[in-house]
């Protein structure tokens, strides 16, 4: 849980990108870091192995003015997706305010997606949190690949809890819907702390927000 500092008029929120190995969590942060106004971001810190696999976490601090009179600092983290690093995932989840669950849309990754989702729920419960009470959105990534599951199937598999979550079709390598996902979790998070949060801002969407049709490039003859 964050603390608000009245002297510096700052609020800090922590958003964690969670998901199975190689689903594109770091790619999300890389894209955000590359495209956001440099005045509104700090350095992207990656604690990775020599083969660019996340070892500990990636970290990207962002600033925004979204609450009247306060500077809002969002700290974006990724977790290491590999199964063996569960202790690290628990550490990164500590004091989390919002979650983006990144699922890999490829058929062969469905089991890993479900395992990772269960792992997220288990790790939240270890710190007396519940996914139903935590601002969370689903990101169905890699929608540009050929062997992907239909969105309806992914919704059936992952978005079947008590509370329907907002979900997005994303291609993180090109950035499609990456900012939409981040903005959605930020807004849900901000409204959780607003005085009218009992009235949710917009009902969860029945289907994932689609990506724009990818622009196909013609191969040279």
């Amino acid at each position: 849980m964050s603390i608000i500092n009245y002297a510096s008029r700052e609020i800090q929120f922590k958003i964690v990108y969670y998901g199975p190995a190689l689903c594109g969590k770091t790619t999300n942060l890389n894209y955000i870091h590359e495209r956001i106004n440099p005045l509104n971001r700090g350095d992207l810190v990656s604690l990775a192995t020599a083969t660019e696999r996340t070892l500990f976490f990636d970290f990207l601090p962002l600033n925004a003015v979204v609450i009247k009179g306060f500077v809002t600092k969002f700290q974006l983290y990724t977790v290491p997706g590999q199964v063996i690093y569960n202790a690290t995932r628990q550490l990164v989840l500590r004091s989390v305010d919002g979650i983006v669950f990144v699922a890999d849309s490829q058929w062969e990754k469905m089991e890993e997606n479900v395992e990772s989702w269960k792992n997220l729920c288990d790790n939240l419960s270890l710190q007396n949190m519940s996914i139903d009470d935590t601002p969370c959105v689903l990101e169905y990534n890699k929608r540009d690949l050929p062997n992907i599951a239909p969105v309806n199937y992914m919704e059936y598999v992952l978005n079947n809890g008590k509370k329907r979550l907002q979900s997005f079709e994303v291609i993180s390598s090109t950035g499609q819907n990456v900012f939409a996902t981040l903005n959605a979790v930020s807004q849900i998070l901000l409204h959780k702390f607003s005085k009218q949060s009992e009235a949710p801002q917009g009902a969860p969407l029945p289907v994932a927000i689609p990506v724009e049709p990818p622009q196909t490039q013609k191969l040279p003859a």
Binding site: M1, S2, I3, I4, N5, Y6, A7, S8, I11, Q12, K14, I32, E34, R35, I36, N37, N40, G42, D43, V45, F56, F57, F59, P61, L62, A64, V65, V66, I67, K68, G69, F70, T72, K73, Q75, Y77, A87, T88, L91, V92, R94, S95, V96, G175, V178, F179, L182, N183, S186, Q187, L190, H191, K192, F193, S194, K195, Q196, S197, E198, Q201
Partner: protein
Amino acid sequence: MNAIPVLTIQDVATLDGVLGDFLKKTEAELTVVIDRGGNVISQCGDMDAMDVTVIAALAAGSFAATRELARRIGEVEFNALYHQGNGSHMFMNSVDDETIMITVFGSRTTVGLVRFYSAATAQNVATVLKGLRSSAHGFSFEAKDVSAAPVFVDHPS
């Protein structure tokens, strides 16, 4: 509705006083109080040369990672960590179950002095934060004060 714990101007002034006194006694360059999730609670000293937000995130990770090492030798956690550099060093000590204090210092002082004064400082900081956590009031803002525009904009370079 959920409320965010509030660090009032008075709380901040008290913490600044405690941390300022610590820096004066130790001649350290910077001290930062963070929660174990990596959020900065208070800071004092020369912050121009360093990105405190990044230091806080990494220090929280470093402190948490060594907890497992401590368990292997029968400890709950290490109460303090010291990273020695060539010219700049970092000392981290536990304030309470939720909070860590980080001190960055150079050749003007010694780790012994920093360690000595950090114990009392951590106690004083813990007292302030205990009062903060036990207070009933929290902050929540009006929905109209939250901008409806997208928080972050895709900004091609």
